[in-house]
Symmetry: C2
């Protein structure tokens, strides 16, 4: 009986919080003149240009410095000892960092679980590819008995997804203070200045991620297990993505303060000295 | 003669770089289907909602915890020793953190100095006010001879400005490698991972910042130097703003990597346990 009463009290408290939250959300939507039911989705063409510019800079650097290829080859060389003993050294033969840009569009605000979130469509048609060569070592009946050259290319050629984005302060995210994992977050978040701003994003599970994978085992012959190798790799890439940022998982990234500070001031230079 | 040739070489090199940069910018605009001359400016209503939500959270915290008022009073108490000896302790009597939200609108891409930038209008009509009370101590002809109570309120009531925003990687920002100040930036930037993304923003000099300042000196009488005190404070606030983020000055803020990482993963919880 008494337990029942306490539980009711908690529910009432929760209800009061939810109702307060609803009032707050209505106020925000009202003051920003945004009607979640009627407002048209907005374009993000300006954002596409800024993102494209930053990606282009990244690519230019990568090409000029050859740095991705170098670090990949270093990685494979340095981790040689941890490779299974049936694989020879891995050599990167192809690296395609693409030539196109992601297109963000159709941005709209939705009210989800007492939270206002932006939903954005993303489309990418490009070719992001990694090709490697190695040898499959047959150590039976004796070590180094035979080896089969393997050549493998994995390419992502299409992505389409719906991205959910919101901004929050730390407190908002941490509902249950008794939960251990969130306590950890709270510490991390509020430790320094208690003043954190966070970007939260995740992709809807109905995303599309298309691959073009090709593999050759043996010098001249295609073997039958090629589709299996390809799908194993594709599975690992999708797993990596799903475990990090597909609902119900989301990424929770601390934003820097944009409060104007002296140390962040720079000044434009006159470009054309006489 | 020889110096002339070298200088010509530099110019040619610069020209080649500029021309390459132009080709790149045209490619970006082409692939993102953005014509800087014809594209209409875009609305940012979704962004207003997200920003409003984060400001509302900030205000709620500030009110619940009374933390701004506390830290302001602490500040004035702790810095008591550094105050001029003609001022008594300062007591914060009013703090208004506003009730409205900034409205961002009219976003368009412009090509400036081989760089693509977004220009965004910002409007804020609100009341952000700080009121203090202190006493003016007259230490002549002898210490503590007389004191005049002062009451002062400074309120920002309107802001309108044009914000320029761009994203960049570190390398892009650092043109002259021989310049010492930029070398410093380069170190800071590339020190850790050589992988920095930056948000650059500044306000156009034609901004509007309106104040409502009121001050009372003496218990019952208004003295003639009141407008001077008010304009001195307004001048200091504008100076603070101009020195940090009005062209040609800009803020240069390192963005966090949004590359999906395990450590940033969180998972949604089922809110309604039975």
């Amino acid at each position: 009986e008494e337990i029942r009463t306490i539980s009711d009290g908690d529910n009432n408290n929760q209800d009061a919080q939810n109702s307060e939250r609803s009032v707050q959300i209505d106020k925000i939507l009202n003051k920003t003149s945004y009607d979640v039911n009627l407002h048209r989705s907005e374009s993000l063409d300006w954002f596409n240009v800024l993102i494209a510019q930053i990606i282009e800079q990244f690519r230019e650097e990568a090409v000029n410095k050859n740095n991705i290829l170098t670090s990949l080859n270093n990685f494979f060389t340095n981790n040689f000892m941890t490779l299974p003993d049936y694989l020879d050294t891995i050599k990167v033969t192809e690296l395609d960092i693409g030539n196109s840009f992601p297109i963000f569009s159709n941005c709209r605000i939705e009210k989800e679980k007492q939270q206002l979130e932006a939903k954005i469509d993303i489309d990418l048609k490009d070719r992001l590819a990694l090709g490697v060569e190695t040898k499959l070592l047959l150590n039976y009946p004796k070590k180094g008995f035979a080896s089969l050259p393997i050549s493998l290319t994995v390419a992502v050629v299409k992505f389409h997804g719906s991205l959910t984005v919101s901004l929050t302060r730390a407190d908002e995210f941490i509902h249950p203070p008794e939960d251990e994992s969130t306590t950890h977050v709270k510490k991390e978040v509020q430790g320094k200045d208690g003043n954190g701003y966070f970007l939260i994003f995740s992709f809807s599970p109905e995303y599309v991620l298309e691959f073009e994978t090709s593999s050759l085992i043996g010098a001249r012959s295609k073997l039958e297990n090629i589709p299996k190798i390809a799908s194993l790799i594709e599975y690992q890439i999708k797993k990596w993505f799903v475990e990090r940022c597909v609902e119900p998982r989301f990424q929770f990234v601390k934003l820097p303060s944009i409060w104007p500070r002296s140390k962040n001031v720079r000044e434009e230079k006159n470009e054309s000295a006489p």
